[in-house]
């Protein structure tokens, strides 16, 4: 289920009761969320059953993932708690190579017997599929790590915070919005904990404990005289953090033009909801945009999604090769463009990098889901396309000897495949504040927050809207705009990038439920940037009379 489905269900007033459970998940109690099921030693013993069975059945490689995936979702609207859902999904996924072909099987019977049978099935599937194999798997080597572990560096485990504290907090967020003039407000908290144990015949035994958090709200105000309504959602990002993210520490705040407050490592959700209600009232009275060409000044809480769609997705190597052609699509960023070492993806100040280690990001892990130590690497260097995102069975296509470490499965029951790492725009190297950037714009729009997003299946043509739009005239913000959407082409857009604020403005945005694959899998990914200027972008007016 993606974010859009959540929003559609929410729009129908479905709330938590109609939310489908993740595959193989079951609803459990809060105390069970905090009770471990297996010790690391037990997991190692069980993992060895899979590795030994696969080997003795003729597999040349095997990896096993014993996964416990915990989620807690809390939903509220106005002064009501609509629902709380705690779920657990626990099982084992076993992947093998036999006769040069992948095979996969999974089971929720996490016993020596269940695992042995699943390993046998995985090998049998690999052997059966090998009859159709045209390109035998070439797996890049990876270092045997022995027994290692990694945990998201959290200060406070959000699952340990009593549910009452969470619902009271969300109700106080709603109250702040209502007191400031909202007619309606809904707020939610999504918490995820992935307890993943990975082992492979390469000699790695990896225990990881991963945490993510997403606080979200939507505030609506209705103008009764005109029947028009406007909304605003949060200006903060989902994070790879614990409950400390909601601690509202002042070092998380970014004072932006027009009293807008952006958020970095700590989020003041009550303050944001208060401002949201005020902003929505202004939106109702805002001027409808005059269509035309504008210089855009894009805040990180907006730009992350443009980076995600126009850089993150087109540089997934499996898309480039055609593996996603039937669903997500292919990519304009074909191998010949990369091979030329001269494809101008963006202007020379554009540097975009992939990173699975970035602290507090959604994608941060110590090791990926095929046992590769994570790292950072360049995708666009000084405006030139220099690399893609690739995993162990793909990197040979790029002439590389080592996986990028961006393999992920959203469940023990899903096959791991290449997923987008955090992809971020490097901040500008010279000192530049948001106010100074705006001061240099004659005719422009300052956009904060993400909203509607759409891009074609090869990632050329896109259209984005936002949460807040401010008109810039002769270096000054002159008022709020509405009905703004910008349309551009990926290469044209990134080549129109003329200025990037410095590191002091760098913040993360991100997606909690990015979808890919058939059957669909979700993953969570962050995108960092500082406020960035793009010149002469086409802006349309989205108002309609119906």
């Amino acid at each position: 289920m993606n974010r859009r489905d959540f929003i559609q269900l929410a729009a129908l007033g479905a709330g938590a009761m109609l939310l489908p459970l993740p595959t193989f998940a079951k609803e459990i109690s809060e105390s069970e969320l905090l009770t471990p099921i297996l010790s690391t030693a037990d997991k190692k013993r069980l993992a060895d059953v899979a590795l030994n069975t696969a080997r003795s059945n003729g597999a040349s490689y095997c990896d096993v993932r014993i996964g416990r995936y915990l989620r807690q979702f809390v939903f509220t609207r106005e002064n009501k708690v609509q629902g709380v859902q705690n779920t657990e999904s626990f099982g084992v996924g076993i992947r093998v190579i036999a006769n040069g072909t992948w095979g996969f099987a999974s089971t929720n019977r996490v016993t020596a017997d269940g695992i042995k049978k699943a390993a046998e099935t995985a090998v049998a599937i690999a052997k059966a599929n090998s009859k159709f194999q045209k390109e035998p798997v070439r797996l890049a080597p990876t270092k045997a790590l022995g027994e290692v572990s990694w945990k998201t560096p959290i200060e406070k485990n959000a699952f340990e915070v009593p549910i009452k504290e969470k619902t009271d907090f969300l109700l106080s967020v709603n109250d702040a919005a209502m007191k400031n003039g909202a007619n309606f407000v809904s707020s939610s908290l999504f918490l995820v904990n992935e307890q993943k144990y990975f082992a492979s015949t390469d000699g790695s035994y990896i225990d990881q404990d991963i945490y993510r958090i997403w606080p979200t709200f939507n505030v609506t105000v209705i103008d009764k005289t005109t029947g028009k309504f406007q909304s605003r959602s949060e200006l903060a990002a989902p994070m790879g953090m614990g409950y400390e993210y909601l601690s509202a520490r002042p070092e998380g705040k970014y004072q932006l033009p027009e009293g807008v407050i952006g958020y970095g490592k700590y989020y003041d959700m009550i303050e944001d909801a208060t401002l949201a209600a005020q902003h929505v009232k202004q939106k109702l009275k805002a001027k409808s945009v005059e269509p035309g060409k504008y210089d855009l000044v894009l805040d990180p809480a907006h730009l992350w999604l443009t980076i995600h769609e126009s850089v993150g997705h087109p540089l997934e190597l499996d898309r480039v090769l055609g593996y996603e052609a039937n669903y997500a699509g292919t990519s304009f960023a074909t191998l010949d463009k990369w091979q030329s070492r001269s494809f101008n993806y963006g202007s020379p100040i554009v540097n975009l990098f992939a990173d699975k280690t970035q602290p507090t990001s959604l994608g941060a892990v110590g090791y990926d889901d095929e046992g590769v130590t994570t790292k950072q690497w360049d995708l666009i260097k000084d405006g030139i396309l220099v690399n893609y995102q690739a995993i162990r069975d793909q990197v040979h296509i790029l002439g590389e000897k080592e996986s990028h470490g961006c393999c992920y499965a959203d469940s023990w029951s899903s096959v791991q495949f290449q997923r987008m790492p955090n992809v971020s725009l490097a901040p500008g190297k010279t000192k530049l504040s948001v106010a100074d950037m705006i001061a240099g714009v004659d005719k422009g729009i300052y956009i904060v927050g993400d909203s509607s997003y759409s891009i074609d299946q090869q990632r050329y043509n896109f259209q984005f809207t936002g949460q807040l739009f401010y008109e810039i005239k002769n270096g000054k913000i002159v008022g709020m705009l509405k009905d703004v959407a910008y349309q551009s082409n990926t290469q044209e857009f990134w080549n129109s990038c003329v200025a990037i604020c410095d590191e002091s403005d760098y913040r993360l945005g991100g997606s909690f439920f990015d979808g890919k694959g058939q059957p669909g899998q979700v993953s969570a990914v962050s995108h960092g940037s500082s406020t960035t200027r793009f010149n002469n972008v086409n802006v349309i007016n989205t108002a309609r009379n119906v």
Partner: protein, 441 residues
């Protein structure tokens, strides 16, 4: 066993209810067996098989509800699950909108299960993939597709005497064929309850033919055009009318924050919203799109009119909102039916002086919920029509359009076709708004 018969399910549900100590208890039991094959680059890439069963218990004390679930169905596990739901209910915050569970309802009969589909084998799935791959290879093209089938059951019972059961089968097929020169792409999509209606050869050919026809597209100026939208553009996983259906919630309308809100309060039921030739309704017993006749909370899905002669007849009322408004609750539909004519897409093309044929739309996102304005792009087969004939393929374009404006600019309807659990005709629409060109193939 992950798919239980009505009797087997009832026996387990009765047992669960016998353990209950809550004021009210509701139990759902569901399971499925499904298999799939995925292919790309003219080879099978993955194949999967899943079996799952899940028992979910909701205990209710006053306005407090707690839910717990398990996939183990022995007595001890069931009782533990019931106790856990009760413990969670006592700790849960009060939900003032929680409704009492339903008493026994009357449900329509619908034939949703077909033995033919339940008997699908891995070999059959592989043969479906092979069909598309071999057709594509012969013509120097590349196939990527997905075929998934399954058997599902769901049962619901509660302490107030309600019992409901459904068993159904289904399959979904999608295929994208791309020409190896990268200039053409075609798409086919089918879904059925009964696999005997599925024709892998003919249905794969649709994608191959569209790919061939769509080679070397030419650019035309974006603007307002007459379009023929095939059903896949209307109601597939990316369909412009899905969004209209998703907007049919009564509560948002009554609260003043939906297209269906009436200025000054209330909603637009009774108002003419779209072209008077449009009749849109739902019927879970329709033999072409049979569906379960009740939704998750036990509310019956009935035959219901949404638009009659263009006039809005009903909106979706959940049980709480219906109780607030003093009306009968109306379930969210399993699919919609739009009446059409006997005209084929070819017939619609013949009658078109100048226009665009759209196979499929992609990446549709809401731009303005007030006007139901959506944006998205054409994909996998977009053609220019002049004087009743397809002249050539054209480059894909981005649209910004509201289904409300579109359904007021209706020019002609064709013959309804099943798609994604809906039964809708191809439509010819005047003045459809394209706002920019895309180089994507």
């Amino acid at each position: 066993m992950s798919v239980l018969s009505k009797e087997e399910a009832k026996k387990i549900l009765d047992k669960v209810l016998s353990f209950s100590k809550a004021e009210e208890c509701q139990v759902s039991l569901g399971g499925n067996i499904s298999g799939n094959v995925r292919y790309a680059r003219n080879t099978i890439t993955t194949s999967g098989f899943n079996e799952n069963i899940n028992l979910n218990v909701s205990a209710k004390f006053g306005q407090r509800i707690g839910s717990a679930s398990t996939n183990e169905l022995d007595d001890a596990s069931i009782e533990k699950c019931v106790r856990r739901a009760e413990e969670l209910a006592r700790l849960a915050p009060e939900n003032p909108e929680a409704m009492p569970f339903l008493e026994q309802q009357t449900y329509l009969e619908s034939q949703t299960y077909f033995e033919s589909t339940a008997r699908i084998t891995p070999e059959y799935r592989a043969s479906v993939a092979h069909e598309g791959i071999s057709q594509a290879e012969q013509l120097g093209m590349t196939a990527a597709g997905f075929f998934e089938d399954g058997v599902t059951f769901s049962a619901l019972a509660n302490s107030k005497g309600l019992f409901a059961y459904n068993q159904s089968t289904g399959l979904e097929f999608t295929l994208t064929v791309r020409t190896n020169d990268g200039t053409g792409s075609g798409y086919a999509v089918k879904d059925y309850n009964d696999v005997t209606k599925f024709r892998p050869k003919e249905d794969s050919e649709i994608a191959v033919r569209k790919a061939e026809l769509s080679r070397n597209p030419r650019a035309i100026e974006p603007g307002k055009y007459t379009v023929i939208l095939e059903p896949a553009a209307l109601v597939s996983d990316e369909g412009l009318l899905n969004n209209l259906v998703f907007s049919l919630g009564a509560r948002a309308a009554d609260e003043g924050r939906s297209f269906f809100s009436k200025k000054g309060g209330g909603n637009k039921i009774g108002e003419k919203i779209i072209d008077e030739r449009l009749n849109i309704y739902s019927d879970p017993t329709h033999p072409e799109i049979p569906a379960q006749t009740w939704q998750g909370d036990g509310l019956a899905r009935e035959r219901i009119w949404w638009f009659k002669n263009g006039v809005l007849q009903n909106l979706v009322y959940d049980r709480y909102w219906a109780s607030q408004k003093g009306v009968k609750p109306i379930a969210f539909p399993s699919g919609v039916i739009i009446d059409g004519t006997s005209a084929t897409v070819e017939d619609l093309i013949k009658d078109t002086k100048k226009g665009i044929l759209v196979t499929r739309l992609w990446y549709i996102r809401s731009v303005d919920p007030q006007t139901l304005l959506y944006t998205g792009l054409t994909r996998d087969g977009t053609f220019y029509i002049e004087n009743g004939k397809i002249q050539h393929a054209i480059k894909n374009m981005r649209f910004n359009e509201s289904p409300i404006i579109m359904l007021n600019n209706l020019d002609a309807l064709g013959k309804p076709e099943r798609l994604n659990g809906n039964l809708v005709p191809p439509m010819r629409i005047r003045d459809f708004t394209f706002t920019s060109l895309s180089d994507a193939v």
